[in-house]
Symmetry: C2
Subunit: 263 residues, 2 copies
DNA sequence: CCTGGTTTGTTTATGGCGTAAAGTGATCGC
DNA sequence: GCGATCACTTTACGCCATAAACAAACCAGG
């Protein structure tokens, strides 16, 4: 590898990320056709099943055919990542204040992560610097601007919100994956592991009294909750609760700044 | 795979996770020796370099030798994960209130993630159900119990705090990884990519005015900041700011519950 | 029309991976 | 002494990303 390889690759991948979307008319392949196939593989069979062969097969081509359009698998994943981000809504009504809009944004982002769980495995918050990643940030900032907070605090808020949603979605995605892999519902999965834990971890309740306490409590059912599986229902509730805490924290920051713009 | 494979594997891996730590006296291998070697590989060369062959080489054995002690690479990673979690401190003084203790806990956890960045790549928040994972939860709950919040809200708070710290650490870890892989300091790395972005993304400031605004602002230096690299310094500041917002949110929840225990 | 270069693929090959299966040599209970 | 068991190695299989060589279709200039 030459010393300037990073530099040269940066140019190449940036041009791919910011290419104008058109131009797949002919019978041959194209970057967008490849990305769609790769996204379909990842959505359907997970990130582990995403291989150059799998994508090539789906297109009726060899794995090597892809390398004409995409320099490597790592670049392919980056391009997939930025492309799916384009599915996110761009506009949120601000008539009811930033809090309502931010909650809607967070819930849409969570839904997006659950629709494309493989996105959560794209290296943690790596700055891919693609157009849709910036569009997502721009949308979030259009909402957060209403708080009147300065850029310094806002940077922290952006990080906190994004990381929270990503993490919470990851918990749900993992519950689903575990359920699918074992062929059980997650309720069955949990109740099959729980006795093993008690058998093997002797004196659990004494060693971890608080963990037992917080885990044991069965929260009351919530309207509309019935169809959601067991572990996932908990995770959804924790998401709602945690998001409220976060929103309260932002409100406190606004109050402390003493310069809230919204009514 | 038999129908009950998941069940059987659960027993096997649980017994490994909860085994008592001793017993590596002889000249032969042992689970703990293997885990130490594997952790050393992951700490030194990253998760991508962690292979059964690499761990075996480090111990002067073949890759297959490990399979006498560890059923698969996936189990190995789970065991590594729970083992390093044991490095986390277990006690935090509560004399100055939960807020001080929680901040210390979060900063220790962030430091832990940065010392073992590969932990961030262990599948998102998957419940490994090992002893040290529960110990970590127990430690956090000993702090959060002081808020007097009920288990329902507390579950949300636990998720929010853990996910925030994990995500924020991931950003820093990625900045470091990018810097190391390209052989540049992250300052050089950013200033080599930044002009490429401007060249390729025409009209950036018009398309993403808020993103430009929040990215352009250069925050004032902070005492003790001088030795921290560029991108990482930003990430650390965002961590502190975001954590404050989160703590404010918890305080708001406490105030709303009207049952704060702390003075 | 021919012709040579470029574009778009394929095939083949290399070195790495996790791990199943079989082999090897030592050790231990009888 | 001797089979069983243990700890470990060797070999092998089918994956993976991708470098390199090759082939066929297109297009430009004569």
């Amino acid at each position: 590898m030459a010393v300037f390889a990073g530099q040269g690759d940066a140019h190449r991948s940036m041009r791919l990320l910011w290419r104008e979307p058109g131009g797949s008319a002919g019978p041959g392949l194209s970057v967008d056709v490849i990305l769609d196939a790769a996204i379909a593989v990842a959505d359907g069979d997970g990130m582990a099943a995403l291989s150059m062969r799998a994508v090539g097969d789906r297109l009726g081509r060899s794995a090597m055919a892809l390398y004409t359009y995409v320099p490597s698998k790592a670049e392919l994943v980056d391009l997939m990542y930025d492309k799916v981000l384009g599915e996110l809504p761009a506009e949120y009504p601000l008539g009811d204040g930033w809090r309502v809009a931010l909650r809607a944004w967070a819930e849409d982002l969570r839904g997006f992560f659950l629709a494309h769980p493989w996105v959560l495995q794209v290296s943690q918050a790596r700055p891919v610097l693609g157009p849709n990643e910036f569009a997502m940030l721009e949308t979030l900032l259009r909402i957060l601007r209403e708080t009147g907070l300065g850029p310094s605090v806002l940077r922290g808020v952006v990080g906190a919100v994004v990381q929270f949603v990503r993490g919470a979605a990851g918990v749900i995605a993992d519950a689903r994956r575990a359920a699918r892999e074992t062929g059980m519902t997650d309720e069955e999965w949990w109740f099959s592991r729980s006795p093993v834990l008690e058998e093997v971890a002797t004196g659990f309740a004494e060693r971890f009294p608080l963990a037992s306490w917080i885990g044991a409590e069965e929260p009351p059912p919530v309207v509309g909750d019935e169809c959601v599986p067991y572990l996932e229902r908990d995770a959804v509730r924790n998401f709602v609760t945690g998001l409220d805490v976060l929103l309260d924290g932002i409100e406190a920051a606004v109050a402390r700044a003493g310069a809230g713009v919204e009514g």
